[in-house]
Symmetry: C2
Subunit: 596 residues, 2 copies
């Protein structure tokens, strides 16, 4: 069977590229060692392959159904999630005293990669529950945590994030759901939420909704948004379930992909009796939410990356097996057909995918490592540097894989030709699934504005210069290496252009014009960052590949070829993008609706 994610690559990234073992020096991880990490990933591979991947096609073919009473999923989903919970994954990153494994987030992300790659519409349930649990853990009161968290971490309760409404998707400030205070210690919630993944199902005993709502009298806009716990069923202090809360499924959305993830319209307070419990302070809900946003967005990027990765390996396996055609110079039609991997264009389709998905995976795990380091660092300055780096990398880590690993899936499908277009093969499902990622958790365009409008300018430009400093450090390291110095020079020149381009955009006094091409800025800087991760990988290869033989030698050679590909075929694309950005082109800004 084809691997879902190349294990050799995971090992390379964790132990050679990131040196994740450096975390072991910290007391939180002192009880761990590489063996523990490996065993956890082994377990993830096993459950992902045996429980998640095996039902992916079935789940896609049989999306959750609603009979007016309850939402039903195929039984394998519950079974897979039970195995996931029994192995301890929901609480893996939590402290021992919370029955967690105290696993570094980086290792956890590497493990999650397999579940996403196997069946993203199934792994979305623990992903969402994890996001809700993390929010509660970070901002809930002691009592709130005691009441809900153990059950969410054991897999008994699931969670959701209820942000969007029909009229408020990208524009959260326009939500209308209201929370009326009572003197009973709870609020009465009333409103309808849209696009709620996991809003209703038969997979868990209870569903804990994290709901954004406005308390009357609060400030307008995002500054008046508060965050509430709204359980589907009320929970007693002893953990047993009480009465049903006034939360109802209003309808299902039927999606192109991610079909196993039930997506709902949820109605809160139809009978004026929906009780919600405030998390944190009134009107500070979005701030709580934003604290968790980096991790959630890296989670989306990781999902996009792994769907791309699974497609890459599938198409690679197919290309090695499928005979079709002959080399251009072979004019003998009676000679046997060659496997299509012999054709240069098929290799190009594969190498493009490889450079995208392995580059993206390196970035995802690098960002995860920033989260870990930030968590344990005692040095305030270092902590700030890590936070800035993470802030500016987040829109890229979310968006670049959502765009380019989707493209990878497109290429994978192309390798299978007509077969890839049929539902008998998994590629078309991966492609449909991945198409969601540039849309949810902030659209591609929103992240462009976030990057150029906010992140690049924040802290007097310090996040931006911090990123550039880190890239320059890599360039310096690479400059000493004969094979890599050309790439170092190329990246250095590109970086100068990035600085110049960014300066022009920031100097532009017309904000509308400055931001008009921000998505192109996002794609451009994303390509630069991925080139950086490739150069960093190449440096590690140069250091470690010396005596490699056999498969290991091939692995390292492949890394260098993918790096070369990215620098020859991809990074040069940023030049044209930057020319355009520097010109402050107003074509799109100025065209009128009636001219379109």
């Amino acid at each position: 069977m084809t691997e879902l994610i190349k294990r050799r690559d995971i090992d390379f990234l964790l132990y050679e590229f990131l040196n994740v073992e450096q975390l072991l020096a910290h007391p939180r991880y002192a009880d761990h060692d590489r063996k523990v990490f490996d065993a956890i990933i082994d377990t993830a591979v096993k459950i992902a392959e045996e429980k998640f991947q095996t039902c992916a096609k079935d789940l896609d073919n049989n999306e959750p159904s609603f009979d007016g009473q309850k939402v039903t999923l195929i039984p394998q989903v519950k079974e897979a999630l039970r195995a996931f919970a029994e192995a301890g994954f929901p609480a893996a990153t939590y402290a021992n005293e919370q029955d967690g494994l105290q696993l570094p987030w980086t290792v956890f992300q590497a493990a999650m990669a397999y579940f996403h790659a196997a069946n993203i519409s199934l792994s979305a349930y623990p992903l969402l529950t994890g996001a809700a649990a993390n929010l509660l853990n970070a901002h809930g009161s002691v009592e709130q945590k005691a009441l809900y968290l153990p059950h969410m971490l054991s897999g008994r309760f699931f969670g959701t994030m209820c942000l969007s409404e029909t009229q408020a998707g990208s524009s959260l400030s326009d939500i209308r759901t209201r929370a009326e205070p009572t003197d009973q210690g709870y609020y009465l919630i009333k409103g309808t939420k849209m696009w709620i993944s996991g809003g209703e199902h038969d997979l868990a005993e209870n569903i804990i909704h994290m709901v954004l709502a406005k308390i009357p009298g609060g400030p307008p806009g995002v500054k008046g948004i508060s965050l509430f716990i709204v359980p589907k069923i009320h929970v007693q202090p002893d953990g047993s379930l009480g009465e049903r809360n006034d939360v109802a499924l209003a309808g299902l959305n039927h999606k192109m992909g991610y079909r196993g993830t039930v997506n709902t319209v949820m109605s809160f307070g139809e009978k004026d009796n929906c009780k919600g419990y405030l998390i944190g302070e009134p009107h500070k809900g979005l701030e709580c939410m934003f604290h968790m946003m980096n991790e959630a967005r890296i989670g989306i990027g990781m999902g996009a990356t792994t769907i791309g990765y699974a497609g890459y390996l599938y198409s690679l396996d197919y290309a090695r097996q499928r005979p079709q055609g002959r080399h251009p110079l072979n004019k003998n039609p009676q000679s046997p057909q060659v496997p299509i991997i012999e054709h240069a264009d098929i290799r190009r389709l594969l190498l493009t995918q490889k450079s995208y998905v392995e580059g993206a995976l390196a970035l995802q795990l690098y960002c995860a490592m920033l989260v870990d380091e930030q968590k344990i660092s005692a040095d305030t300055n270092r902590k700030q540097v890590l936070a800035l780096l993470l802030d500016i990398l987040t829109p890229i880590a979310k968006s670049w894989p959502s765009e380019f690993c989707l493209e990878a899936n497109k290429l994978a499908m192309q390798i299978l030709g007509g077969y890839g277009y049929t539902r008998e093969y998994p590629l078309e499902r991966l492609y449909r699934d991945n198409r969601l990622n540039p849309i949810h958790e902030g659209t591609h365009g929103i992240h462009g504005i976030d990057l150029l409008g906010r992140k690049v300018r924040m802290a007097g430009g310090k996040a931006f210069t911090t990123l550039l400093d880190h890239i320059r450090e890599t360039i310096r390291e690479a400059s000493g290496n004969r094979t890599l110095q050309a790439y170092a020079g190329q990246l250095s020149n590109t970086l100068q252009e990035v600085e110049k381009t960014t300066a022009v955009l920031i100097a532009c006094e017309n904000l509308n014009l400055s931001l008009a091409n921000s998505t192109i800025y996002l794609d451009m800087l994303g390509h630069v960052v991925i080139a950086w991760t490739w150069l960093r990988q190449a440096i590690v290869v140069a250091a470690n590949a010396g005596n490699a033989t056999g498969d290991d030698k091939d692995f390292y050679q492949g890394k260098l070829a993918a790096c070369r590909y990215f620098f020859h075929y991809e990074l040069p694309k940023t030049h044209g993008m930057m020319q355009l950005l520097q010109s402050l082109d107003d074509t799109c800004l100025n065209i009128t609706s009636s001219q379109l």
Copy 2:
């Protein structure tokens, strides 16, 4: 209701851009005038909207089913196709004496655009039947034509093209279907064909299969392929149906999109009694096929273009209606939300689509016009020029829209956000449908090799220089116009680089290396050709827009803005592509299977 294709654009392309009325000077079209053309397009719009579009969602949700006896489609399909036939479309381009309308192919293509845009998986049936009929009309004997053609043109019989087999998709030389001669005037066909669209259904009284097979003893490879008529049911000279032929449905393929087009595995001669009738000479089957290939491939490109076009107009309409967010400079959250078309990035997504789909439509109809001109031209030299131009443009006309109008659909879906990802809106269907186009009728990669390996080199490079000459003529025309001269200069510089790049590639003695990046060459030359169609459109606008007012003024301004967009945002991308091509990069050629 949103238009499927902008009628003003169709009129612009037919009467201003192509001056299709010049064809009226030829005796074949002498009975027509613009009124007739307009009436035919009116009819197409009406039937497309009322019969094709109305069942598109239903057909996608209810793909053809096989109960072991017969294949059933939803009843609206038959009804739509009856309306199509009753309006005379199947025979529209045929001569009066064949009960045709003697319509120019260009006008017919403009009419077909509406059917494709409305419901491509339905319009595929007449498209395939038309291809089979054209093949028969061009190469069949008088008796063969008399027996089958009237029924295919009346809509009573449908047709298929049976080329691929499981082991022979892109590599036709490897087909194994055999045709044993008998002394009864027919051949006995035996073999299994894969990916046969319309192979079995309940839409017509009979299905006429055009089957490629090998007569034993013939030359190996493509030179030993012959072409046969294989009716599902034998036809009597009086047109009545006789015995069932030995043709059987072996299975259905289930596709991501194009779901309404039943796609089959067909078994010929399971009972050793499948009668086939040779078309043309033995072993010359592929040549017959190739005669029709240009038109078939332009048909695919037209399909891809129109799916993109329909998505563009749908997303444009949505963007005008959907309120969400505020301008960057507006910090008042209590001000009303603006329609999303007010956001520069949404306008960019729209203008990108516009430049792709309107540029592609201009190219499709230009190519159609070349077909028409070629058909009626009395001048041998001119005929040859037209043939060369059509030969070199065909891989681009097929592939560029298949790639970039698919991208347009991706952007259209993005504009609708989460809604676009649901099956309640048509975008995700259009996106799924369009994904087939880079795969069938020659994959994207195959057309890259066709373009760079064959078309650019054919006739001593004459097709290539003919194309360049035509582009240069446009550049000369544009140079005299103050608004357009910058574009003329830019395209002229690009063209010099194209010539240089092409020279380097042709001079490369290692054919494998020369062709290693041929898909990039295809995309690059495609972009140059689309820039050319935009410059040609801009010239027409400059000539005609002088006194335009109201909607017409907006229309012309929009054309100029899209031209500007393409020259500012898209054409510059070719520079990097050509740098890469000139470097004869061997990264993809040389990576080994085990390094991937």
